[in-house]
């Protein structure tokens, strides 16, 4: 503070002007005041402008331009072709591959969101007590967050390998036949959902823990006096009080989960079929399909149409999510 005030006294009045010595004092102050008023008026906009500028150029404009591209034939190198109206959209909607990708995406999304939320709430409840080395446990829970999805996928592809993968080996010990993780639809979805859960459960745990710690403690005291046990308290106090946070977690995982790409792109034994979501597209997601149509089939018009359809889907699911979680958690509150 002291440094700043003493060193800035000069610039406040003069600005960049060299200010020759004989200049009359009152005039200088007048100019400075005018400068200062200008500063107060314009600077606030100036400071927020980088965000709006950059978002406009790299966020909003591409999104809107996507709609334009979607209405044309468009080649990555050849560029814009004929205007085709909604043909790209109808073409996409007629593809079995598209609907397959929609189904896969939802399946993976549900398999990751629901168990993740349940486990996160549970672990958060466990963490919400007088722990020794609390920071250590919290960091331990967060550890997977720093691993890139690509690395997660490489590691879990090994764990889930159909032959000689440790998971199938362990299952073999308890007498379960090897599960075709990389050839059957549902097992592959479980494997990919496991990767998502691995990376995000701890993160969401901490968000929920923060919300839990904000629950007034006298509620629990009152419940204890009324004879409610820990489990009862958890369902009757903690869960209803987490309503808004759960809604938040679900909505953010919707936005992220429906765009899943990395894990689906990398999962599998490598070689033929890998990168396309399996030999028969067993785990091809919408974003993976978008990439494939745009960059492998060199059809940007159609890829743009897929992007818009996915956008609408995310919007729709977001709204449904919002209404649903609100209802479920308010019912919890009535109990």
């Amino acid at each position: 503070m002291t440094v700043s005030t003493s060193s800035t006294r000069r610039t406040g009045t003069g600005g960049p002007a060299p200010a020759p010595a004989p200049q009359p004092q009152p005039r200088r102050i007048g100019w400075g005041q005018r400068m200062s008023r200008f500063d107060l008026k314009v600077s606030p906009y100036l400071y927020i402008s980088p965000f709006f500028l950059l978002f406009g150029i790299f966020g909003l404009a591409p999104l809107l331009y996507t709609a334009y591209v979607a209405l044309h034939q468009w080649h990555p190198i050849g560029g814009k072709g004929d205007f085709v109206g909604l043909d790209n959209f109808t073409a996409v909607l007629q593809q079995d591959q598209f609907w397959n990708a929609v189904g896969n995406t939802f399946s993976i999304f549900l398999l990751s969101t629901i168990p993740q939320l349940v486990v996160a709430v549970f672990i958060a409840a466990v963490l919400d007590s007088n722990l020794r080395a609390g920071t250590f446990w919290r960091m331990g829970v967060l550890l997977p967050y720093i691993v890139a999805p690509v690395s997660v996928a490489l590691i879990f592809s090994n764990l889930f390998a159909e032959q000689f993968g440790i998971i199938n080996t362990l299952l073999g010990y308890v007498g379960i036949d090897p599960i075709p993780w990389t050839s059957d639809v549902v097992p592959s979805h479980i494997a990919i959902a496991t990767m998502v859960n691995f990376r995000w459960t701890g993160y969401n745990t901490l968000i929920l823990l923060a919300a839990m710690q904000a629950v007034p403690r006298d509620l629990y005291e009152a419940a204890t006096i009324d004879g409610a046990g820990r489990v009862r308290q958890f369902f009757s106090i903690t869960v209803p009080m987490l309503k808004a946070t759960i809604t938040f977690v679900v909505i953010t995982s919707t936005i992220g989960g429906l765009q899943i790409f990395d894990e689906a792109r990398m999962f599998g034994p490598g070689g033929s079929g890998s990168g396309r979501g399996g030999p028969d597209g067993q785990w091809k997601t919408i974003t993976l399909y978008l990439w494939e149509v745009g960059w492998n089939s060199a059809n940007f018009g159609r890829a743009a149409a897929i992007a818009w359809l996915l956008f609408l889907l995310i919007l729709l699911v977001g709204v449904v999510n919002f209404l649903l979680t609100r209802r479920i958690s308010s019912q919890g509150g009535d109990r």
């Binding site: 950059l54 690395s151 032959q163």
Partner: protein
């Protein structure tokens, strides 16, 4: 203060609460939980943390063996002698591992620095300066957080090729120079971490606004800025789709290089898992040094990077 209800609706109560009870956070969290943790609690946590750490150990384990071990289906959890050999193979493979590490470092550092500076600047303006349309503009910033920008990938690719930035690291740096989340985060924080009197004092002393920002707001914002830096760094380091689409082998970041490793040596698990593990090392170091802030940041703001 009036914006807190808005924030509570859009970002969950964590963020709003972070604005409301920052001072009580540290004490409140531990003093409140009266239940003393028992053996069951520690056992559950230990299992969960061990499961979280297992993939790290597994990568190291496979990386220390050879493919004969992988295809024997053995469950021997004692490391083998080949780890350094596999590290050398990763470094010598033609995925350009050092180059990719450097690219990742440059991209992550430059975006993080820029996000922190530009977000704090905008946050300062939103939180502490009065101007027409402030509220509306802030709401629009929050609204953009819900826009899945990844979906603009096709035109973004067209723009970048037009600018001749294909295969140039700038193609992934430019779109990430500032984020809506960062602006929102810093606005939240500065709203009550920076007293108005401090700004007034600086003004009386003749500071213009940019100097007030630099000498008063920036120091006050330091804890939140550190968290924002970490989130942005991790986000950039782990990002895959856009770099994969726009970069090439020479300019690729680590995830792009790892993809190359898989597509080239797809059954060589010791090599691939060593690569996967090596790519995490820099973030692991960062995590050991600054993981505490990362935890505090997530808990303070209920954020999703």
């Amino acid at each position: 203060m009036s914006s807190i209800p808005v924030i509570a609706q859009t970002a969950g109560p964590g963020a709003a609460r972070a604005a409301g009870r920052r001072s009580s956070r540290r004490h409140g969290s531990f003093a409140g939980g009266e239940r003393r943790a028992g053996k069951v609690t520690y056992t559950i946590l230990a299992i969960f943390v061990l499961l979280s750490a297992f993939p790290f150990y597994w990568s190291f384990l496979i990386g220390s063996k050879d493919n004969d071990f992988v295809f024997s289906g053995s469950l021997n959890l004692v490391p083998g002698p080949n780890f350094l050999d596999n590290v050398r193979r990763v470094l010598e493979s033609d995925i350009n591992f050092w180059g990719a590490t450097l690219n990742s470092l440059v991209a992550a550092t430059s975006t993080s620095v820029s996000v922190v500076l530009l977000s704090t600047l905008a946050g300062f303006s939103f939180a502490k300066l009065r101007f027409k349309g402030r509220r509306g503009l802030l709401v629009s910033v929050i609204a953009t957080m819900a826009v899945p920008t990844q979906l603009g990938i096709v035109p973004l690719y067209l723009v970048m090729t037009k600018l001749n930035l294909q295969g140039n690291l700038l193609a992934i740096i430019l779109p990430g120079l500032v984020t809506a989340f960062g602006v929102f985060w810093m606005t939240q924080y500065l709203q009550d971490a920076l007293p108005d009197e401090l700004i007034d004092a600086a003004r009386v002393d003749g500071c213009n606004l940019i100097r007030t920002f630099w000498h008063v707001a920036m120091p006050a914002a330091r804890p939140a800025a550190a968290m924002l830096f970490l989130f942005t760094f991790v986000g950039s380091w782990t990002n895959f789709m856009w770099p994969y689409v726009i970069l090439d082998r020479a300019s690729g970041t680590l995830p792009v290089a790892l993809q190359g490793l898989q597509s080239q040596y797809y059954t060589d698990y010791p090599l691939i898992l060593t690569g996967a593990l090596l790519s995490v090392v820099p973030l692991l170091i960062l995590f050991v040094v600054a993981g505490k802030q990362l935890v505090a940041g997530i808990m303070a703001g209920a954020v999703k990077g």
